[in-house]
Amino acid sequence: MIMEKEDLIPANDFCSYHHISYSFISELSEAGLVEVTVLEDQQYLRQDQLKELEKLVHFHTDLDINLEGVEAIAHLLERMQELQQNIRQLQHRLNIYEG
């Protein structure tokens, strides 16, 4: 995937804004929850993943949830969204027979 630099945010800027250390991002990255792009030895984050990432940061900083907890929540939320989507599809299918 070709990435324009304008679509990237320096990870350090993000960390200082949220008062977190880069190690948190790094660990989220290791867990596959965020993608870090390295350009000229600098770590960057894609703009389109910031909203999702900020959600995880807030779980950690504001709700006092440790990294393992954040990781578990992220997976459960993903699963929950899949299930909600499945329910919507099933309701839709049911309408075909009941509607």
Binding site: I9, Q47, E54, L63, I65, L77, Q84
Partner: protein, 305 residues
């Protein structure tokens, strides 16, 4: 007049609660009701806003003092106004800085404009000076109701968003539950932040004889007994108009046939359509004449012999 709100009750703590107890109670409830942990749950969102507001007041010693002092008697406007003038109001200003922030209002800290009237009157509105970042405006979520016939054709619709009229083009084939994003049509940003986005979810009602599943349509048509037995031709409705179908001899009741390309338009693929599945419901003749009955008897006897 806004109703008095018991912030202690909301957090489930005593009036004598320490700062630490308030913090613990708040975090406990926030972990349960945080909107990011309860996607698509309006009830949790509302509860979280109340919890957040309670914490906003009780975790700030100055606000808590004012709340404790005037809270229950806050309707005594004169005294209340005096108190406000003495205390002054917290103000929020933009502290500058290059990082504009990307936080949407789904984040922790609640949503601007979502505090109760009580809070607004007691504390003169917005949260205290700690909020000086540039925030992206709140995203709006809206539902757009339309019927299946509307979704069949590409059409334009005028929506009123924040008092502004916006014309959007809705491509044919849009799905029930599908969400489209209109960038920048949400709430304006705070302190120079970008405006939020508008997410429109389509809710498509079935008001036709057709059921839709993906791009395919399903319908049931009545088939005269004689056509079913002997074969022939019938005219059936599709969403694009009437078509003629050949019926094979000895067609059974409940037979389902596929009519290729007569289903629903495929989203953003002009000229491409799903299929139509027609189920035959064979009609047994009623009110038979003596002659017809006799002929059926003859048929029945033929089968027996």
């Amino acid at each position: 007049m806004a109703e008095f709100i018991d912030y202690y009750k909301i957090l489930g703590i005593a009036k004598t609660a320490t700062e630490d107890e308030i913090k613990k109670a708040y975090r406990k409830l926030a972990r349960k009701y945080h909107p990011d942990l309860n996607p698509n749950n309006a009830e949790a969102k509302k509860t979280f806003q109340q919890i957040n507001e309670a914490n906003e007041v009780l975790s700030d010693p100055e606000k808590r003092k004012r709340y404790d002092q005037y809270g229950e008697n806050w309707k005594h406007a004169e005294q209340f106004e005096q108190a406000r003038q003495q205390q002054g109001q917290g103000s929020a200003g933009f502290s500058g800085g290059q990082w504009q922030g990307y936080e949407g209002f789904s984040n922790f800290g609640g949503e601007e404009g979502q505090f109760s009237d009580f809070f607004e009157q007691m504390f003169g509105g917005r949260r205290s000076g700690r909020q000086t970042r540039a925030y992206k405006g709140e995203d709006f979520n809206a539902e757009l109701q339309m019927n299946l016939a509307d979704a069949y054709n590409t059409h334009q619709q005028i929506l009123t968003i924040n008092g502004k009229k916006v014309r959007i083009t809705i491509p044919a084939g849009v799905d029930d539950g599908q969400v489209i994003k209109l960038k920048g049509y949400g709430n304006p940003g705070i302190n120079g932040g970008p405006a939020g986005d508008l997410y429109i979810r389509f809710v498509i009602s079935t008001n036709t004889a057709f059921k839709r599943l993906g791009n395919d349509l399903y319908s049931t048509v009545k088939l005269p007994l004689y056509t079913a037995v002997l074969g022939g031709e019938i005219t059936v409705e599709t969403m694009g108009g009437k078509i003629k179908l050949k019926v094979a001899p000895e067609t059974q009741n409940g037979t389902k046939i596929r009519v290729k390309g007569k289903g629903f338009p495929v989203y953003k693929k002009e000229g491409s359509f799903g299929d139509l599945y027609v189920t035959y419901n064979i009609q047994i003749p009623t009110g038979l004449t003596e002659k017809e009955k006799e002929l059926f008897h003859q048929l029945a006897n033929l089968k027996k012999s």
